[in-house]
């Protein structure tokens, strides 16, 4: 004869052991609490305040007095309304980040200040090369050895006319810098430039030499030395 839930048993049961599936060990009185995960998700989503009470022991009331079991709530469901990424409609630049990871200082600065670049990704297209791809790529282009992390910027406006045959962008070689401060200043200069691009053609015609940031971008700020 099965024992009644409210018989001689103590009013509170010990916690369910970790790893033991709770579905089979649920008393009828608590069946209403242990529902399918979907139902729990719905409950969590619909009643955030009420759901927080689920983990606490229920107040003793009738048959549910012995229902002091712990219910493991599923992980908080992700917000379904996370916006899907839409590539910018009319990007001016295409930015590639190539990093084989040999220069730990520059790599760390780049990673810690990635927000500077991420801020641009609404207007520009950003491509990250994995470490493996970067190593392969640099291996094919030996002139880039020792210069990565490289931020390659392609000016789509310039490339639209002449392709890659003439001036079409620039590389920021962070790998040649040795101190975090130099790398950070260079990164900030870069972000400022890409965020506020001047007319490159005008700037280029003013400066006959191959451009430096000052001549190229007209930033009026000393670059790192």
């Amino acid at each position: 004869m099965p024992k009644s839930p409210s018989g001689t048993r103590p009013s509170r049961r010990p916690r369910a052991r970790a790893g033991v599936p709770s579905n089979g060990a649920v008393s009828p009185a608590t069946e209403n609490l242990v529902r399918s995960p979907d139902a729990q998700d719905e409950r969590v989503a619909a009643e955030p305040v009420a759901s927080s009470r689920l983990s606490e022991p229920e107040p003793a009331s009738g048959d549910s007095a012995g229902a002091g079991m712990v219910i493991e709530l599923p992980a908080r469901p992700r917000k379904a309304a996370r916006r899907k990424y839409k590539p910018p409609a009319d990007p001016r630049f295409r930015i590639f980040i190539i990093d084989s990871g040999w220069n730990a200082v520059a790599r760390r600065v780049l990673r810690h200040n990635f927000a500077l670049i991420r801020r641009l990704h609404k207007e520009e297209l950003i491509y990250l090369l994995s470490r493996k791809k970067s190593v392969e790529f640099i291996g094919r282009h030996r002139s880039l050895i020792g210069r990565d992390p490289i931020i390659a910027v392609h000016d789509l406006k310039a490339m639209g006319g002449r392709g890659t045959a003439a001036f079409h962008g620039f590389h920021l070689h962070l790998g040649i810098l040795r101190t975090p401060r130099q790398a950070l200043v260079a990164l900030q200069t870069f972000a400022h430039f890409v965020g506020h691009p001047p007319s490159l053609e005008k700037s280029r015609s003013r400066h006959t030499h191959r451009a430096s940031p000052r001549g190229y971008a007209g930033l009026g700020r000393d670059p790192p030395t």
């Binding site: 996370r82 899907k84 990424y85 590539p87 295409r94 590639f96 991420r118 990704h121 297209l125 950003i126 491509y127 990250l128 090369l129 790529f137 094919r140 282009h141 002139s143 880039l144 390659a152 392609h154 392709g163 890659t164 045959a165 003439a166 001036f167 079409h168 962008g169 620039f170 590389h171 920021l172 070689h173 040649i176 810098l177 260079a186 191959r210 451009a211 430096s212 940031p213 000052r214 190229y216 670059p223 790192p224 030395t225």
Partner: protein
């Protein structure tokens, strides 16, 4: 005699200072060009390969969702 010697020293020191100035400006200019390297026809193959990686779909634009 001493006057002429002093003049010569001044001229030499001035020339050295000027040479150092020119050298330093040139060094910084070279370093700057190396840091912000402008892409021209010489780098067409590098840019072309990046371009082909994008066109072939090997590289996808960065997005937070893809990163997560």
């Amino acid at each position: 005699m001493l006057d002429r010697f002093g003049e010569a020293i001044s001229v030499v020191l001035g020339a050295l200072a000027l040479a150092y100035l020119v050298y330093e400006i040139d060094r910084r200019k070279r370093r700057l060009r190396d840091l912000f390297h402008v892409l021209g026809s010489e780098e067409a193959d590098i840019s072309g390969e990046l371009l082909s990686m994008v066109e072939s779909g090997e590289l996808q634009p960065y997005s937070r969702e893809a990163r997560a």
